[in-house]
Every structure is written in C-alpha cells, then in structure tokens.
C-alpha cells in the first residue's frame, strides 16, 4: 500500500499544497445581517458627531475614526435649524428619501409657543428652510398654540394643533402638499361623554386616516384618549387609549432594572397605522412618558387592529438617565417620526444643557449609521 501511495504523482501533491496555501487568506467578518425586519419604533439612538482625528506621532499623519451623522455647528443628537425663537413639539412629513418637512410650535424664549412654523430639509438633519405658516390670531385659540400634527388629506397638508384653553383646531393648506400657508377651519368637536380622566381641554393631537375615517389620539390630564370622525372635524369619543404605568418602588426591583418611566403621565401621542408583512393591522403609538421624579422619555405601545387596548413595550425607546441614577430620566418628549424604507428618524424635544430644549434627532434601528454627506 505504501508503495502505491508513493506512486502518487508528486505534481498532484504539489498542486494540492499550492491550492491550500493560496486559499489561506484573511476574510472579512462576513455579513448575513442586512435588511432585517423591524417595526422601526425604537429603541432609538441619537445621531452623533462622532468623527475624531488624531495625529500619529510615528508617521506624522492624521488618522480619523467614526462618522459625523450631523452637520457642523450642531451637537450630539440635535438637528441643525435656527435655534431662536425656540421650536417645540415637531410633527414630520416625509417627501422623499431623507426629504423631511417638520411642523413645530414656535414662540419667544421663555414663553409658550404662539405660532406654527414649517422647517424643510433635504437631508433630514439640516433644516435651513424655515417659515412661520400659522399665526395665533383667533380669539378661541387663547394665548398659545402648538403641538402641531400634519398629515396629507386629498392632496393637501392638513394641520391639527392645540391650545391649552381652546382644545384642538384644524387648518388646511392653500398650496396643496407644500404646506406653507393655511386656512383655519376652527376647533374640532369632541362629542360623546368625556371620561372622568379627561380633566383638561384636549391637547397634542395625532391623527391618522384610513378607510375614509379619521382616528384622533389626544392627551388630556395624565392619559391619552382616542376619537373617530368621518369628516375630520366632528369626532366621537372612543375612550382611554393609554394610561400611565403603575408605580413601583425602585428598592423592590432587581439590580439593573429601571422603574417605569411613565408612572406620572402619558402625553404627546404620535400614531400611525401599517399592515404588517403577515397582513395584520398594527397601530404604532409613540408617546411621552413622565415619571414622578420629573423626568420624561419616549415610550412605544402597539395594537393589532383598529380597536382594543394598546400594549406597552417595557422601558422607554428613547431617553436617558439624569444625574442621580436609575430613578431619574431625561426630559425627552413630544415625539414625531419620519419613516423611510430601512430606518426611522425620531424628532423630539431634547435636553441640551441649556435653559431651553432643542429639536433632537435619533435613529432606529440603532445599528444603522447615517453619515452626513459632508463627513469625509
């Protein structure tokens, strides 16, 4: 047998060795995890200015790591737009890949917002086209308007907004889907018996339109409520949509587990409705959750179908801790979402370390990087 083995042509053995050696190359880490399913409703990661450059003392050359996901002149997690007067409580419309229009409440620093402004960006992060589109000019609007919600209806941008004293109002664009000037329709009507929990005028509207029917989500007191309409002006109350979570004593929780972030109130609904790949209706609801220590974060709840209770996701989908540890959250609030094919951008009021909040921007899934075009 050994003799036969020795008879193997040496060239074949040589060829085998050569092939083995030639293939002993380093490979990349591999893929297999792109374009994965996701409902794009968090957790969200703040967009960052993370590019850092260093001088290599041995070569004298500069090397850089990381990406800037935001333009120059911003800080981590903050979109670029005129900071004054302050803008609050965004609502987002998507007009193309990274083409976003935000409607925001705007007002003098230190006071409530008294107009609605329109901000437009072709890259979803630098909003340099800013114009006031809706002033406070009706007596029933009181001293303040804000919390806009924009949606497209019959080829027009339709704007719902609220006033602390007058409830929810509607306006419709004169220029179709551009949405730079509006005619006011006045306040909407909320009919039917109000819940005892509805202790204040309705505020912070979020509206979706499906099957020729409008579905309104709004805040009042410490809860979120739901109402339905066929014309977008006269709504019938459907009841409570979302309640604050029950309080939990942090001392009773396991290590590393946070107490509820929304045990004081829920506010600022941001709702949309999709058909899942399995063909089920999924209503996605982002909201502001406030805790009893004064912090706030963004939460998510979902519902299969157009009726019934929402189910909350455990923990917030955007926010962070404040100095003081697990029991204190950030002040992120008033979410709005711009949804694209492979990711979603969250716009929300965000702490900056200054006296006022700015419009923050974050992304989901967290694994996606969104380098800013000018980032080399």
């Amino acid at each position: 047998m050994a003799g036969v083995l020795m008879a193997v042509p040496s060239r074949i053995a040589l060829l085998g060795c050569a092939l083995l050696c030639a293939c002993a190359t380093l490979a990349d880490a591999g893929r297999g995890d792109v374009d994965l399913p996701n409902v794009f409703s968090g957790p969200f990661r703040t967009l960052k200015r993370a590019r850092r450059c260093y001088d290599d003392p041995t070569t004298g050359q500069q090397f850089c790591v990381g990406d800037d996901e935001l333009p120059e002149g911003t800080q981590n997690g903050i979109a670029k737009y005129p900071g004054l007067p302050p803008s609050r409580s965004p609502s987002a419309l998507v007009r193309g890949p990274l083409h976003v229009i935000l409607f925001v409440g705007r007002g003098k620093e230190g006071s409530a917002t008294d107009r609605i402004a329109r901000l437009e960006s072709k890259d979803a992060r630098k909003f340099d086209d800013v114009v006031d589109v809706l002033p406070l000019d009706r007596p029933d609007e009181g001293a303040s308007i804000g919390d806009p919600w924009a949606l497209d209806v019959d080829g027009k941008v339709t704007l719902y907004y609220s006033s602390p004293t007058g409830g929810i109002f509607r306006a419709r664009a004169r220029d179709g889907l551009v949405g730079s000037s509006f005619d006011k329709d006045g306040p909407i009507a909320l009919e039917g018996a109000a819940s005892p929990l509805e202790t204040e005028p309705a505020r912070a509207p979020s509206v979706m339109l499906f099957g020729g029917r409008y579905r309104l989500f709004y805040a009042s007191g410490t809860h979120l409520f739901e109402a339905e309409s066929t014309d977008g002006l006269r709504f019938r109350r459907l009841g409570v949509a979302l309640a604050p979570s029950a309080s939990v004593d942090p001392a009773t929780l396991p290590e590393g587990v946070r107490p509820p972030f929304d045990d004081a109130s829920v506010d600022d609904p941001c709702v949309d409705r999709i058909l899942t790949p399995a063909g089920r209706v999924l209503v996605r609801l982002l909201y502001t959750g406030r805790d009893k220590s004064g912090g706030s974060s963004i939460g998510y709840a979902g519902r299969f179908g157009d009726e019934g209770a929402f189910e909350k996701r455990a923990g917030f989908v955007y926010g962070g801790k404040l100095p003081g540890g697990l029991t204190k959250n950030s002040h992120a609030n008033a979410p709005a979402v711009a949804r694209f094919d492979d990711f979603a951008l969250l716009y929300a009021n965000q702490d900056t370390g200054e006296s006022i909040q700015r419009l923050g921007v974050a992304i989901s899934p967290q694994t996606i990087s969104l380098p800013y075009p000018e980032s080399p």
Binding site: M1, D35, A278, L326
Partner: protein, 455 residues
C-alpha cells in the same frame, strides 16, 4: 477462530475511537460532502465506499476497492430573504479533500480514511448576536467552519462493516484583564494595560457506523453521530482608577472602579443524529439509495451570549453623577425550543459503460426534505428558518487506466443542488414587539466538483 477474529476486529474499531480525530458536519451536514454523494441527495449511508464515507458512514470505508484520493471545490450561494429583502447570508465555499486507504489487519479488511473541508474564507466564524436580532440560524453561521475527519473501518465478516471515529475541535476560553488609569474627560489620555489569556480546549463526540450486506444487491446501514458544540467563554476584568482629568490622583478626583464581566455562548451546534439507510441495485448499473435521519434538534443550544456583570464603584461626594456607570441588567437567554425532525433522503445512480476498457459515465439525482426544526418565533427570539426541499443532480466520468503511469481510475464528478425554502410567516404575540411580523423564504444554489484518483 472466526469469532475471535470478529472480536478482535470490533476491539480494533473501538480502539480507533481513542486515537482518531474528526470534526464533522457544519458545511457537510448542510450542503453535502463530495460531488457523488451530494448529487444523490446525501442518501448514501449504505452506499458510500469512497472518501465521502468519512461523513456519511465510516463503515463504508472498509469496502473501498483501493487507495483513493479526492480533491475538489464546492460553493453554496444563498439567497435568503426576509420581507422580500435579501439578507446577504454569506456564501459557503472551500476546498474538499479526502483519502481512503484500505488494507488488512489481522487478516481482516481494514481501511483508514481522512476528509477535509477547508473554507477558503475563514476557518470558522463565531458570532454572538443580540437575542432579538433576526438571523438565519441554520444557514448563516453554522456552515462557516472547518471540517476535518479521520476514521477507521473494519470488515470482521463479509456481510458486516464497522467504522467509527471521534469528533474533535477546539472550544475557546479567554480572559481579558484591563488595568490602569481611565480618564473620564478625555478617553484618549487613558493609560491602560491589557492582558489576554486564551485557551483552546478540545471537545469530542463519537461517530459510529454499521453497514450490512445481506445480499449482493442490498446494503443496509445505521449511523450514529453524537452531539457537538463550540463554546466561547470570555471573562473580562476591568480594574482601573477612574480620573476626572488626565492628571495625577494628587490633583484630580480619582475613584477605584472595578467590573467583572463574563460571557458564554454556543456556536455551530450539531445535534445528535441517527441515520438508517438502504441501497439496492435495481440492475447491475442502476442503484437506488434511501436514508432516514432522526435529528435531535430539541437539544439545540441558543447561540445567545449569557452575560453576567459585577461592578464596584463608590464615587465620593462631588463626583459628577452623570459619569456614574449604570449597572447592567443580567441577560436572560430564552430557550430556542427547537423540535426533533426526521429527514428523508433519496438518491439514484445510473452507470453507463462507455468503452470495453472500463470507462463509464454515471448520471445521478437526489432529493431530501428538511422540515424546519425552528418553532414559531412569537416572542423575544428571532431564529429564522423555513422548510427546505433540496434537489440535486450530478454526473461522474470514470476513466480506467487512462495513462500508462496511471494504472488505476480517474474519477471526475460534478454536482449541482438547488434548495427551495418556501415562504414562512412569523407572527408576534405582542404588538409592541420591536421586530414585528415577518416573512422568510429563499433558495440556495450549490455546486461542486471532485477529482478522484484510485489506485
């Protein structure tokens, strides 16, 4: 004397378990090993007497007609999609090589075989993904590894062949120590020392095969493959002085910070398997093969890393609370709850004589059906998989003594396999699930060629 010889043969076979090494499955389990056997749907546990017997049934090595060396190449390209989007699952490709050398031991037919699948990309890949991240659990990571096998087989009596070996591969245990000064205000000025201590420890599982030849036209087989897994255990210890600025502790606030982190994950899990097979010569030139494989998927281990962390950090008054690290919650690894499956396989080979010199051409076909072992993913895990129908065809050219320097045979085999994974819909119990409902489907093409030299 006959009984003594049989006993000696069995003892010899058993003794090989202690000395031979093998690392099987992975790419071979998923895409087949060597062109002839793959073309016949892998239904060859009773019919493989060539190098591929190292994987399908080592007992068949004892029937090898002579020394044979095979070398070839295979490639499998997957187009696996979720929600209609291709997830770019990596192709599996590499060299295949094997040898079988028969002889006599204590008067009994005896054979030694080795087989190798050497990926030309990476020897093996270990991935520990987030528990919720959807992944093609069967096709993404598990086939991305080396395959090496060595077996012995004997034929104590004419109608019985016994073969076996041990699976052997390395599991990893590693320890990472980081000590030094950590500047919280400017990480670039931190001065840290790292120590890494990694061990590769061997793991083994047995593979045994029997092959019976009750008649000249019928062969029966039974194969047992043990359970196999690659573990990756990492300990990390961080013991540093956390400083507010890049300065000595005499001029800035320093706080001792200690954290101990352990992760443990399982990769490339191969469940225990039992194969029963038969091979029947319909005519002298046509062979029909069939296998049934029971796979104990219920013992499947989650590839999720189990992470534990202990932290000690007692900041003094005045230390910025925003820099205080948060204690992470321990990981709860959800059980995969895979289900046991039976995989039927069928294959056929027709051999056409080409010349009186002994040249011949073989035409082959095969099919197998793998019902997915992955249960509905309605909760927090997203192991994605679908049923698999695999159709294969192939051909083989045998040239007998084509050159004067080559008194034996040259075998040139080709195969192609198409796997169809019909769409499967995954729905979630919770409407708050971050991944949501999804659809999964796909197809996989694999090709290969083998050049064999028989002496």
């Amino acid at each position: 004397m006959r009984a003594l010889a049989t006993l000696a043969g069995v003892a010899t076979a058993v003794s090989t378990l202690a000395i031979s090494t093998a690392a099987l499955a992975g790419p071979a389990e998923t895409y087949g090993f060597l062109s002839r056997s793959t073309a016949m749907g892998g239904a060859v546990s009773a019919d493989a007497t060539d190098v591929s017997a190292n994987f399908y049934n080592p007992a068949g090595l004892a029937s090898a007609p002579g020394v044979r060396i095979d070398i070839g190449y295979m490639r499998a390209n997957a187009s696996l999609r979720m929600n209609g989007k291709d997830n770019a699952v990596d192709a599996v490709h590499g060299l295949v090589f094997g040898l079988v050398a028969p002889g006599k031991l204590l008067g009994m037919p005896f054979a030694f075989g080795v087989a190798l699948h050497l990926p030309d990309d990476r020897v093996f890949r270990v991935r520990a993904l987030d528990q919720q991240q959807p992944r093609w659990e069967i096709y993404d990571n598990r086939p991305q590894r080396l395959f090496f096998g060595a077996h012995l087989a004997i034929q104590p009596v004419k109608w019985l062949e016994i073969g076996g070996g041990l699976v052997f591969l390395a599991a990893t245990r590693a320890r990472l120590d980081i000590t030094g000064d950590l500047s919280l205000s400017d990480a670039a000025t931190s001065r840290l020392r790292h120590e890494v201590d990694a061990d590769l420890t061997s793991i083994r599982y047995p593979q045994l095969g029997l092959r019976l030849k009750p008649t000249d036209r019928l062969r029966l087989s039974a194969v047992y493959r043990g359970e196999f897994q690659l573990t990756l255990d990492i300990e990390a210890r961080l013991a540093v002085q956390a400083k507010l600025r890049d300065s000595s502790c005499a001029t800035t606030l320093c706080v001792p910070f200690f954290t101990y982190l352990t992760t443990s994950s399982v990769n490339a899990f191969l469940p225990r398997q039992v194969v029963l097979g038969g091979s029947y010569d319909l005519t002298p030139d046509v062979t029909l093969d069939a296998d049934v494989t029971w796979i104990q998927w219920s013992s499947y281990k989650s590839p999720m890393s189990a992470v534990t962390a202990q932290t000690k950090f007692d900041p003094p008054p005045g230390f910025p609370a925003s820099l205080t690290p948060e204690k992470p919650a321990p990981t709860v690894v959800l059980p995969p709850n895979f289900q046991n499956r039976v995989v039927p396989r069928i294959g056929v080979e027709a051999r056409l004589p080409l010349s009186p010199k002994g040249h011949s051409l073989a035409l082959r076909g095969g099919y197998f059906y793998e019902r997915s072992p992955v249960p509905p993913q309605s909760g927090g895990t997203n192991f994605v998989d679908a049923d698999r129908h695999a159709f294969s065809v192939g051909t083989g050219l045998k040239l007998h003594a084509p050159f004067t320097e080559m008194p034996g045979d040259i075998h040139f085999d080709l195969h192609a396999q198409w796997s169809y994974l019909p769409e499967r819909v995954f729905t979630k119990d919770s409407p708050a699930d971050p991944i949501g409902d999804y659809r999964a489907s796909g197809q996989i093409w694999s090709f290969g060629t083998t050049l064999g030299l028989a002496f």
